[in-house]
């Protein structure tokens, strides 16, 4: 008897300890990465993915010069597919959030529809006055149904094709942009030209980096991809997705791909080794190519308009401020400055991310890039941005893309049949959507 009483007491004590532990854990979370000391000096942290190019274009230094009390610290994850899960963990209470977080356009619907309570409403800082700076679509995508503004647009991703003119020359292909654009009027033409290239170049160099990136290029030309306007997931019934898939499978079967998974170390190395001659080139890819291929490759790359007759969009981003930042106002000032027309203009000239700010688009019309053999990138991407379709966005856009490109990777690297791989993609999407 006394034992059982003692045991009961012990359990009660255990319960109290467990509760205290839980409470402590609850208090400990949600710290912000930023700090401000007594002299009014503020450190603003900014978490990004890929290459936004703010640092490379010297924008942080400039802002720090203009605001001597501000220090900016950037942390960047190369692959957005790694960045987003980490951000989710932090948002749900893991701590370690930056004052400013980059959001890819494929995720912005998840933010506005599912997580609007986790980010600051930027209209509280006066963001609504900036609405006229952006295209209606770019603005609307980051606005919740009740009118809260979740982020300010950085860049958009008008598509083109980047190609190695030196390799083209060696393989006896034309190297002139206009001539190429005419030669690859359709995607089939593009693949045919690829076969011509492949016949000359041999196994060491392939026509494209991966069929996954080819797929994303093609599907970027569509208005409706994975969701219909009512928000229903329709990717497996969408003929346009199917056709993009089929073209990609054909490219894989024809041996036109270097079979490099995008964002992998091997893919990065291949930029300088010449393992592929063309790559799908949303404007933000320009900066990535410069970073990977390096200064010694200046003049070997060039840019030409997209096959398929229609402009397309792949990617683009927003900057958002998670709730709980201890100086959201200063963070907002930085976001506003980074996304303002003069800075977006500068960014495009130095790095290549195409401005989403209408004021900046007008300013970059005549930009040519010496790195890309003086290609008129301002005109080329400007035209593409103007005419590319306004895409219907959905919560799981990025998940669907990942699953489909993974499945295409199976086709090109393991020789899996198209129908089996498509089944895997569907299975993966089912798992991801839950």
């Amino acid at each position: 008897m006394p034992i059982s009483r003692a045991a009961r007491r012990a359990t009660r004590r255990l319960g109290a300890v467990a509760l205290a532990g839980a409470l402590l854990a609850a208090c400990g979370s949600g710290s912000s990465g930023s700090t401000a000391d007594k002299n009014g000096k503020v450190t603003i942290t900014i978490g990004l993915f890929g290459t936004f190019g703010f640092k490379e274009a010297g924008l942080y230094k400039e802002y720090e010069r203009l605001h001597p009390n501000v220090t900016i610290k950037e942390s960047s994850t190369e692959n957005e597919a790694d960045y987003w899960p980490a951000l989710q963990t932090r948002l749900s209470g893991g701590g370690g959030l930056a004052d400013i977080q980059g959001i890819e356009v494929g995720r912005i619907a998840a933010v506005t529809q599912q997580q609007s309570d986790k980010f600051e409403d930027l209209s509280a800082f006066g963001a609504k006055s900036l609405k006229s700076d952006y295209s209606a679509a770019k603005w609307a995508a980051a606005t919740t149904s009740d009118g809260r503004v979740m982020g300010l647009g950085t860049d958009v991703g008008p598509e083109a094709i980047c190609y190695r003119s030196d390799l083209f020359k060696k393989a006896g292909l034309p190297t002139d942009r206009a001539e190429l654009a005419k030669k690859w009027a359709t995607w089939d033409d593009y693949l045919k030209l690829g076969e011509q290239y492949q016949a000359k170049a041999g196994a060491k160099s392939r026509w494209m980096d991966s069929v996954g990136s080819l797929y994303q290029l093609i599907v970027g030309q569509q208005k409706e991809r994975y969701y219909d306007a009512s928000g229903k997931l329709i990717y497996d019934k969408n003929a346009a997705v199917k056709s993009a898939w089929d073209t990609s499978v054909k490219a894989a079967k024809d041996g036109l791909s270097a079979k490099l998974a995008q964002w992998s170390p091997a893919w990065n190395q291949a930029f300088s080794s010449g393992s592929f001659a063309t790559i799908g080139c949303p404007a933000w890819m320009l900066g990535y190519i410069k970073g990977q291929a390096g200064a010694k490759a200046t003049g070997t790359w060039d840019v030409a308009p997209l096959p398929g007759g229609v402009a397309g969009n792949w990617g683009g981003s927003y900057l958002a401020i998670p709730k709980g930042s201890s100086h959201a106002k200063q963070a907002y000032d930085l976001v506003k400055w980074l996304t303002a027309a003069p800075q977006q203009e500068k960014l495009f000239k130095k790095q290549g991310g195409f401005p989403s700010n209408l004021g900046a688009i007008a300013g970059v019309k005549d930009v040519k890039d010496p790195y890309f053999s003086n290609a008129p990138i301002g005109e080329l991407f400007g035209k593409a941005a103007e005419t590319s379709p306004v895409q219907v966005l959905g919560v799981h856009d990025q998940d669907v893309t990942t699953q489909i490109t993974n499945a295409l990777g199976e086709v090109e690297r393991k020789g899996t049949s198209s129908s089996t791989a498509w089944g895997h993609a569907q299975k993966g999407v089912d798992n991801a959507v839950g």
């Binding site: 012990a10 004590r13 599912q114 998974a261 091997a266 199976e410």
Partner: protein, 316 residues
């Protein structure tokens, strides 16, 4: 005797007898409380809470909104072919990594048990891989196993072998991942075997030598039987390690699906993908429980085998 002499002089200062008796009965519990309190907070509570969560649909984006799903997470899990792939992968990678690892460790320990010049240096060197971080080791191995520019394919090329796609091939990728595990843990196991070997009395070897047993026969009939408990220990530890394998497959290509067709996705990685890739915390919790049950089963099988062994030995 002891109690009599101890209690007699202290009677005046101590609390009355019934209370004292009660305290004496309670004190053992007080001593074990810290452990059980910690275990309850960090072991039992998470375990039970995981079971609770596994019955709901919970998404990482909104952990507060829980939707009753009953056993739905479990049926979805068992209906998912990738779960079975992960289970199979865990097993095959476990075998590919553990068996050669333990055999090599045994051989190495045997060699290091001889009187060698610079023996301490060799022993310390063996432990170095174990001291390396998983992430660093995996990233280096991923480079070595690169398809186009990797050192291993380059060497194979010198020998006239076609380049192997160490990332997408099922067997190839599993061998590559296993090699990281083998590299890291062989030295550790060798040291444990070495310690076991040194506790085998030297006169056994002398007696065997007098009987004219060769080195090999000594190894078979003296070393191995003497090492049996040590071997059992390393097998159990390696089995648990193999069931939980996570860091190496996650970092090998840096994706949660364990390769484009899940070809080297282990159970740990599968659970991680469910929870932190797809944000389905309920599904991840269900996976965790299935893994828990699996490990308990494995341990039971291990104990049963060990017990049967000892019983057999006792009968001898």
């Amino acid at each position: 005797m002891m109690t009599l002499t101890a209690t007699a002089p202290a009677r005046a200062a101590r609390p009355p007898a019934p209370l004292r008796r009660c305290l004496a009965k309670l004190s053992p519990y007080a001593y074990v409380t810290p452990f059980f309190a910690l275990f309850a907070a960090f072991g039992l509570f998470p375990l039970l809470y995981t079971a609770y969560v596994s019955l709901y649909r919970v998404e990482l984006q909104a952990p507060g909104e829980m939707q009753w799903r009953g056993l739905g997470n479990y049926t979805a899990l068992f209906g998912d072919e990738y779960f079975w792939t992960a289970l199979r992968n865990t097993f095959t990678i476990g075998v590919i990594s553990t068996v050669p690892q333990l055999l090599m460790a045994l051989g190495l320990a045997h060699l290091l048990n001889y009187k060698l010049r610079g023996r301490t240096l060799f022993r310390v060197t063996m432990l170095l891989p174990y001291a390396t971080s998983v992430a660093a080791a995996t990233l280096v191995f991923a480079q070595l196993f690169g398809r186009d520019f990797g050192l291993i394919n380059y060497l194979l090329g010198l020998a006239g072998v076609q380049p192997v796609d160490w990332q997408s091939g099922t067997l190839a990728s599993q061998i590559a991942v296993s090699s990281i595990v083998i590299w890291r843990w062989t030295g550790y196991n060798a040291l444990i075997y070495l310690a076991g070997m040194q506790s085998i009395p030297a006169d056994l070897y002398e007696a065997a030598e007098l009987d004219g047993a060769s080195r090999w026969r000594q190894f078979l009939h003296v070393t191995l039987p003497g090492l049996r408990p040590t071997i059992l220990f390393t097998v159990v530890v390696s089995t648990i390690g193999a069931t939980q394998l996570f860091g190496e497959p996650l970092l090998f290509e840096g994706n949660m699906s364990g390769g484009i067709s899940h070809q080297y996705q282990t159970l740990g990685l599968y659970m991680y993908q469910e929870g932190w890739g797809f944000f389905h915390l309920g599904r991840a919790a269900a996976t965790a429980w299935v893994m828990f049950v699996l490990i308990v089963l494995l341990v039971l099988v291990n104990t049963a085998i060990a017990r049967r062994r000892t019983r057999k030995e006792a009968q001898r």
